[in-house]
Symmetry: C2
């Protein structure tokens, strides 16, 4: 797998880098971020989406040693459909305001792709790449030859993640497989080893590797044929996360293995599942053989957890908020030149809910307060009434909403909290709601700009009343994506939708709530995180400097600028 160092002719322009070449697709900016227009009707304003063309899996999510959040992502920089995979890149101080950065990792040639992977800080220089710094970053990812081998490769960054140099002795793992990908790496302090999880996709095996230095990897165990298989395992993540303590105040942790499945979700296409368990440095053991679904919508896949977050703190993740069944044909491509968005950043931890079979991974929006702007409605004692707001004047077109019932008892679990977001112009709407103590539902079937045999309309999830006197539903609606959370995230539901006219009115209603229970409801506008970056032409340029962005001190001695 040592590739030629020749600079190839014709379409292939290249720069010698270790023993590889680099292919720069014609017309794609190399030295600066790709500019993007985020004005479109469907463009989320409080979610990340790529400046142009196509995005899928999260890659290399990490918090750097300065506290800055980095996301990389599978990017096709030349078409709004999958293909030509690169690692796009963006940074944020709060996980909501994103600065687009220049492409971080490029392929070797036009038929070899940079697939998914992860990135870790290597402060102790285990890799040897960073003799004189403690903010070195190592990316591990799959290189896929078109229709050929999938091997695991290393690139490293000495400037805080903006530019990468390819390791000279790639690949670091080559098992001769064409379906072997998506390495995710974490540091296991007790054994002082790096641990990799990686998918043998079509054999339904997650293999565990360990390494002292991120370069030499030893296969140590398998986890196979658990949960939903579908046709492929993809994008495994193993992460240690806190167990919510409801009794003694201690903060224990458990491990969680997350596996994405595509195709073959029960709802069709792409879905994520997780397995709580233990990990001893070489072997992961699930607590049981249960299948636990991560999100009850249809647009939540390939979740990646940020590395660099202490294990005893709530972990933080984002998912790709689309579905392979229709991602290549959603209307944002033709009308606005982009496809694919990330979910909201989410806090994650484990909660013990015996009625749901034991452990539930709670998934709640990360610090949404960071982008709340105007309070549109707030009622602390709604009764069995509703609030209504016209939000056509909210610049972002994006809202956060929350409805809570408190004072519940086992005897007063009754009633519903329902929401409807509609267009005053077309009458199109997206609706949903929760039955206090049980089910939550969502219907995107009345937004009419997209018709597809796989664009399922209705979703539901079953919750349980936990006895704490409360039941809640909250969520974010953001132009073409809605994410709903029940009871602070015991269930979540992520769905895209496409209406001909912007949705601009909201009604939230409580019905049948029992006496003695109190309903509060609030609706807030969200900041337009992209418009505030746009220039006079409406274009978001991203980072146009030649080094790292303003919040980091980029080291300027590397090639790709």
């Amino acid at each position: 797998m040592l590739l030629s160092s020749l600079v190839l002719p014709g379409l292939l322009s290249g720069i010698v880098l270790g023993q590889t070449t680099t292919y720069f697709a014609p017309g794609v900016p190399r030295a600066t971020a790709i500019p993007g227009n985020y004005d479109g009707q469907y463009r989320p304003r409080a979610h990340f989406s790529p400046p142009q063309n196509f995005m899928n899996d999260p890659n290399g999510f990490h918090r750097d040693t300065d506290g800055l959040w980095h996301i990389y992502y599978q990017l096709n920089p030349v078409e709004p459909v999958a293909g030509n995979q690169h690692w796009g890149h963006a940074t944020s101080e709060d996980l909501y305001h994103w600065t687009n950065q220049k492409i971080a990792i490029w392929p070797f040639n036009s038929t070899t792709y940079v697939y998914s992977g992860s990135a870790v800080n290597d402060p102790n220089n285990t890799s040897g790449f960073f003799p004189d710094q403690d903010n070195g970053l190592v990316a591990l990812y799959t290189i896929a030859a078109s229709g050929g081998l999938q091997t695991q490769n290393v690139a490293y960054s000495r400037d805080g993640g903006y530019t990468f140099e390819t390791y000279a002795d790639n690949p670091v793992i080559n098992v001769g497989s064409t379906q072997f990908r998506d390495p995710q790496v974490t540091w296991h302090a007790p054994t002082e080893n790096w641990v990799m999880v990686i998918a043998y996709s079509q054999e339904f095996v997650i293999e565990f590797y360990t390494s002292p230095n991120l370069l030499n990897w030893t296969a140590v165990s398998n986890f196979s044929h658990y949960g939903l298989l579908g046709l492929q395992y993809e994008c495994p993540n193993m992460v240690e996360m806190p167990v919510e303590s409801t009794s003694n105040g201690t903060s224990e942790t458990m491990y969680l293995l997350y596996i994405s499945i595509n195709p073959g979700a029960p709802l069709g296409g792409s879905v994520g599942q997780y397995f709580p368990g233990t990990f001893n440095g070489t072997h992961f053991e699930a607590v049981d053989s249960a299948f636990r679904i991560a999100d009850f919508g249809k647009d939540n896949y390939a979740t990646q957890f940020f590395s660099g977050v202490p294990n005893n703190e709530r972990q933080i993740s984002m998912a790709w908020a689309s579905n392979w069944q229709y991602t290549s044909v959603v209307p944002t491509g033709d009308s606005e030149g982009w496809r694919g968005q990330m979910s909201l950043p989410r806090y994650n931890f484990l909660r013990e809910v015996p009625q749901l079979g034991g452990w539930v991974m709670v998934s709640e929006p990360y610090n949404i307060q960071a982008i709340l702007s105007e309070e549109l409605r707030f009622r602390d004692d709604l009764g069995n009434n509703s609030v209504f707001a016209d939000y056509s004047s909210v610049p972002s077109g994006a809202l956060y909403f929350e409805a809570n019932v408190t004072g519940l008892t086992d005897e007063t679990l009754a009633g519903t909290l329902n929401f409807t977001f509609s267009s005053a112009v077309s009458g199109e709407y997206v609706s949903g709601g929760t039955f206090v103590g049980t089910d939550t539902w969502m219907d995107r079937g009345h937004a009419d700009a997209f018709e597809n045999p796989y664009f399922t309309d209705k979703f539901s999830a079953t919750g349980v009343y936990g006895g704490q006197g409360r039941w809640s539903i909250s969520g974010v609606i953001d132009r073409s994506i809605i994410e709903v959370f029940v009871n602070g995230g015991e269930q979540s539901m992520t769905n895209t939708f496409y209406a001909n006219q912007p949705l601009d009115t909201v009604r939230i209603a409580a019905n049948g709530i029992a006496e003695g229970a109190t309903v509060s409801v609030g609706v807030w506008a969200l900041e337009d995180t992209w418009a505030m970056q746009a220039n006079a032409n409406g274009t978001v340029l991203g980072n146009t400097t030649t080094s790292g962005n303003s919040t980091t001190s980029g080291n300027s001695t590397f090639l790709f600028r």
Copy 2:
């Protein structure tokens, strides 16, 4: 749990039977079958549905010693919603033409219900109930007190399953649980024991019991926290079934444990899952920890396998074709006085499909030829064209259809086979199709007579090309239910639908099929299995004699006639 033998006053009329009373709901026929009108627009004509009111789980499915098929079912004989559970009863010689029989098992009183269970022939009189016959039948089922204990009970029939006498020493299992139900019993020849599987529903445990006599039961093992948990495990079935042999012609068998989940299906509400494995007489061991979904529609629950079918023959099952999320509000109740139907009878066996993770339970219609009538269309070389038929003159309104592509190679896996059933009057339609070699989809969202937040519109399943040169889709549409099968049942999809106007035209189209591949398609009318039983008033009386039906020699010495 020994109940009073007093005949209670007022609404409770009773007959002393062992140590129990019997409650006959006012107005419900005791001596004969409940009459039913099967003329309604939504009434399936090739599926079983109850004569009146509400049906849910299959119970006591068995083939008797004369070869007659018996189904019992959870019946509320007084309202078209769940409640007041009895065991309704019907018999058939071919699993399609059903004779309604009188209610087989009645409750003790108005607040105690006869829940689900199974029935087995006891030819060797292990139970001692049948000293002078070899066609004795023993039913094992749950008795549920309203909001109280769920215990396991025995009743036995000396007349071939038409009338039952309650065992004097019921319950046979009482563990003091309020969530412990749905016993299913099979004979395990190697150990000469009866084996029961039963659900601790909210603890996600299937418990295995053994007994030499169907009366004294010993708990021997647990199977817990496997697969989808949802909020409840229900209706477990363990069955030995053949493994399809593709190589050496031997017919091996494997065990399969089937568990129904409600609520909590990924699609919402009710769903069935299965676990292939081994069973040694006391312990079931799944081949792996994978979650395998039984049917990719939303109306297929609580599958029960017929006892009395030899283990080395394809097993036969039917499911309840509805979903607890909306079964109590579907329009058949208000307009036609009934709710709930069974799926088609299905052949089941295991097929090894490595690309789908190992074992797949194939589910194909049982001998549909038995009810084929007029051939409406047949083309043995359709090309990339379509067939169309107006079937408004077909008395049943029910069709069987099939489309096959043959001559495929790995290089010619292309194209689609799509179907649309529509109303020439209203334009409403149900559609679906399959992409050769991959996905199958269905859309019921354009039948407009029923709107409900849980009535999901679109469904899909992922298949794989097995290399045998063929790909097929087949199905039955029957007024308000459609069942589709891919590749002879590697995937199935069962969905109800409710159109304002009867669907009466069909189009089946092939598109993009590659050169060298051949498409054949056929559409046949199905018999109207109910209308042919109706009297001059359109009423199906069922069995109106006072003993077993005409094909069995009922023993007339028992109480309930």
